[in-house]
Symmetry: C2
Amino acid sequence: MKTNSPTIRDVAAAAGVSVATVSKFMNGTQRFSAPVEAKLKAAIEQLGYRSNPLARSMITGKTRAIGLAVLDIRNPHFTNIVKGANRIALQQDYTLLLVDTEENQARERQLIEALAQRVDGLIITSRMQEESSQWMLELNKPVVLFGRSRHLPFPSVGSDSYLAAYMAARHLLNEGHRRIAYLGFGQSRWNAERLRGVTACLEEAGLQIEVHDAHAPSAQAGERACSAIVLGPRRPDAVVCYNDLIALGFMKEARALGCRLPEDVSVVGFDNVPYGEYASPALTTMDLQSERMGELAMQKLLNILDGNADDGYAMLEPRLIVRESTTRREAGGSTSAPDAAGVAR
Amino acid sequence: MKTNSPTIRDVAAAAGVSVATVSKFMNGTQRFSAPVEAKLKAAIEQLGYRSNPLARSMITGKTRAIGLAVLDIRNPHFTNIVKGANRIALQQDYTLLLVDTEENQARERQLIEALAQRVDGLIITSRMQEESSQWMLELNKPVVLFGRSRHLPFPSVGSDSYLAAYMAARHLLNEGHRRIAYLGFGQSRWNAERLRGVTACLEEAGLQIEVHDAHAPSAQAGERACSAIVLGPRRPDAVVCYNDLIALGFMKEARALGCRLPEDVSVVGFDNVPYGEYASPALTTMDLQSERMGELAMQKLLNILDGNADDGYAMLEPRLIVRESTTRREAGGSTSAPDAAGVAR
DNA sequence: ATGAAAGCGCTAACAA
DNA sequence: TTGTTAGCGCTTTCAT
């Protein structure tokens, strides 16, 4: 299995032409006389020649590879980003180098620095503060970030967390809820905005919010955080969760604790992960368009690599997906959801 | 941003030594006199030198990258494989090149062939028949496959689909079910084995099986397939689904159709995807240890790259995870699950 | 312990 | 249209 694959020189020899000719032919840089073209084709076919991308990259300085660093590939939000990014990359003949940074938090920076050396550009999701991410500038490679970047001159894509949260709260209010809690994830860069959105909406209605933290963006964390909220002295009648995973965990535990959902407690999440739909009650959520974000990020990056400037922030519109976890099916509530109609499903 | 990073020559000049010395230093190939080492360190530090992995790869012929081709990154089964593979790769300082082949089915082969040129080895999940995958031999790179490979001399890892299916059926039998259906996915390479396992178990009990096909390994497909099974003339009292996604979709639709789960119909899936636990009823499933499969596959591959021979098939033990979708909570059934106790949760 | 020199497989001027 | 030639940044004998 140590078959040395044929080099450009082998082809040149076999076809009786120079290596430069072969190179030009491979890259379609030029036109050729019929006989030469025929010989070239024959030799290439016969030898099974495929040009070595490494050698090519060394000279051109381009690898046609994009580095993608995600926090946790198992979180469907990031999975979707990868899916979207991969789609666009494939269309343009780029390859994806993936790193799941959660697997080695301490080495996040090293990992990304190493990654940067093998790619033309990077798409990065990070938990680091922008202030402490100045080193990304020294990557000397185009980077696209998620969430509006304020301290870094990189283009970015995100969705309006504030608005999304506001919408979620508004929906809950419309459903007649008054005691609303927020189960957040403090370490996230979007947590603050989401909290702000919910808070603002409630304040307009003269209501207060009760804030909890899940300590992780996972279903397990949602489970763990549940009892303190649901069994506390003043049980909320609705909770906005930082993301769908937390919401799913919360719902499971809440029911185990004897709550009826959504009658006793309504739940909203963020991200619209595929499985919220299959939980029961099906999870109402804010669709942040993760997959589209991945596509957009990749598009921005490839665009830059094509020489076009872009340091903008592309913001996607959040969409409310109303499902069962917030809609009072029987008894209970007050108004029937006035905003449920015509909403994207 | 067109900062040309320093080359080995810059370092050599700055340190007043030869490039060979710098190279040896970078690779820790040799020991050095104190003064040289000091100058080297200073120069490298001062210039911020990082050796170019491409140039290195050109000579050594090693890229320290592994290609991973998955059918659909959004299927948690594959997500888990990626997670596991990534973990091991990171530990050994390898990078992952990911391709989601579903994004471009027609180009699967091209994609993988291109991938092969940039990596030291590949881990491939494919829907192709082994018989028509002989081209993989011409990759001239070590490959690890999933599922026992019979026609290809590649090592592989998988779990015992036959046994898993047999176990699932046995569990259903123990729960008192008699009319059992199998909702499969004919295009998968494991479908046949799973069907065999279920069939064998039922035959031992003198029972027949009713077979359906979901046409896709997704929740949506499960939803679509549901009504024909549940509203047919002879509704089964339990169904074994090809995977958890199909099972989840099936359950959602079944309930929409007015079935009580698990009282009217019990459901089992395969894969133990994270969200089965958060569905309701929580999904009973066969844990095939996807993440472990990813780890193992990567371990096998790196092992081969270390020069050790390995053409074996590593088979993981399936485990039954009993949850609510098969346990008769009230009324109904016959025996209470005798095998539910002591089972991994 | 250190250095000189010959490439790895390819592209990119520049000549012809 | 085709060929010559000089490297890309690095590793690796082989000398010293």
